[in-house]
Symmetry: C2
Subunit: 335 residues, 2 copies
């Protein structure tokens, strides 16, 4: 149901089991217990980085089907996107599945954009079971957006480290313990930042815009959520977001964290300003946060996935880097 | 409502006015009367090809709003995708609009994928008015997928010519003369073709799969539609599709055409095997075909947008080129 210009509520969208498959660095971080499978090298047994990312994505689909006791034929649709040009990870992986497929792109907001679109496919009655997913891979993204890692270019401290991870989540109309109860669709917000090495601060204003709109549309406040989590703003963007809320006299700090900062151990792992990439928010949300909802640590969370909408050509044309942030409410239904 | 594994029906999704803005070659073709605006050079007054494509897209949004007597604040969401890396056309253009935005990618199937997602946003009650759109530009696509046009590379006869065009269509829950009554979501189909200069034949098997599934799910046959149109299979892919139907004893020929072949005058315009690009199917469908439904030439059509899911990196890695085709039924509601 539509509430406000950007927000909506779901009444029949429930969350099944998710699956998260990660690379070596992510598995050495503090959340390793919440992942379903990990590879100890970035090639994941494949011959190219792109095929390695496809392997992660395929594993995540298969594990998710298995955890939900579903066969491919039980699923109505898969919705996914990734950071590679023309989102080849989803489309090439799906060659091996008899699954209707909808490709999306929202950069690192993809994990939540997929939940919003998938939620609507269920709420409308068009589907009863939808898989939503995304992936990112450190080596495919670095060469896609910056330089090949082999080039060994130096990096500023504001840069984030793309997570090697794939996440898949089942949305279903079968009542379960967790539900997707609401969403706020983001607008494109241009903070006039043009440094592709500081995407956290390029995206923070879009996260601010979406969360403020969300509070207004749902008549809610930070206290109404056990956790508000962005994905992924870096230390710099997180700090900027907190300050933007301070300016309007809203204290978000005590209820707020960022997926890219949760995924790694900042002191021991060299990830610069934090993690990023579509797979980061998916790994933390579909893996760790859903577990925390299921084990009663949390009752209701707001996940705000943030995407930087650049490509290298347009940055070379001296354009700024706009951001977009989509938010969903995930909550536990108590008996 | 879900019918069959891949198909669904809409009961509350109506079609408002569309807007189509094209480049010079498209305006010299047989459908020029059905377009809202045309530029006489490929730069469209902008400094780069990408910004030229953004200009087409922006014009299409503005004209569509005007034709529908809507302001930006009356629209709940815009859904779009394009062929540029990381779909920058939609995301950069949307910086100037206060509009919730969902980015999608389905290559040249985008124009119909957007209608399916937008239809679900309305059917679920989440939105009352959604703009769906896409664009392509000959010069941005050529250098994105093949070579910069300035390179002057020779082309084989099987290649298609990317249309320079942007299309926007309004979906609404306000009852009107035309409705979006059903859809079939495509699967990724790999015909094992790896020639990026023959995308028509790479995609034809996916169009075949979607149309056969559509006939089965809706218990329909070619005669039930005044026109079945693909977008865009080229002369080679169109011929292949007709032959695939011949093999299962279905005569589709009399009711079938292709958007890429309708857009240009093949004898006078040098477009090789026909038109292609996201904007091609959008221009022909949102412009020409909707007019033919409104003026009572057609009562019910099936639009099957076909996408080739390659990127240059994966083709260089010797992979094949899968295709996907999404279908929607558009029909006139008689009083």
């Amino acid at each position: 149901m539509k509430i406000g210009k950007q927000s909506l509520t779901f009444h029949n969208v429930f969350i099944g089991e998710g699956a998260v498959v990660v690379g070596p660095k992510e598995n050495q971080g503090p959340l390793s217990d919440y992942f379903d499978k990990a590879y100890d090298d970035l090639y994941c047994g494949a011959k190219t980085w792109e095929k390695a990312e496809m392997q992660l994505f395929k594993d995540a689909i298969n594990i998710s089907l298995s955890k939900n006791n579903l066969a491919v034929c039980d699923v109505d649709c898969l919705i996914s996107g990734d950071l590679n040009n023309q989102i080849i990870i989803g489309s090439y992986t799906l060659r091996d599945y008899e699954l209707p497929y909808l490709g999306i792109f929202g950069a690192c907001s993809t994990s939540v954009e997929g939940l919003i679109i998938g939620g609507n496919m269920i709420e409308s009655g068009s589907c009863s079971k939808v898989l939503v997913g995304t992936s990112s891979h450190n080596a495919t993204s670095e060469r896609q957006f910056r330089y090949p890692t082999e080039y060994g270019g130096q990096k500023p401290q504001t840069i984030t480290s793309t997570a090697t991870a794939a996440g898949i989540l089942l949305l279903t109309n079968t009542k379960g313990k967790l539900c997707l109860s609401g969403a706020t669709i983001g607008k494109v917000i241009d903070a006039k930042i043009n440094d592709p090495h500081d995407l956290g601060r390029a995206m923070a204003p879009s996260a601010f815009d979406t969360i403020v709109t969300h509070f207004n549309d749902f008549n809610s406040k930070p206290n109404d959520y056990d956790l508000i989590v962005t994905g992924d703003l870096s230390y710099y963007g997180k700090d900027m977001l907190i300050k933007l809320f301070d300016e309007i006299n809203i204290n978000i700090k005590e209820h707020y964290d960022d997926c890219g900062l949760l995924l790694y151990n900042q002191e021991k792992q060299n990830v610069f300003a934090g993690g990023s990439g579509c797979g980061c928010c998916a790994a933390v949300t579909y893996g760790y946060l859903l577990s925390k909802l299921r084990d009663n640590t949390y009752k209701k969370i707001l996940v705000v996935a943030t995407g930087a909408l650049l490509n290298p050509i347009i940055v070379a044309q001296k354009e700024t880097i706009p951001g977009i942030s989509h938010a969903v409410i995930i909550e536990r239904i108590d008996d």
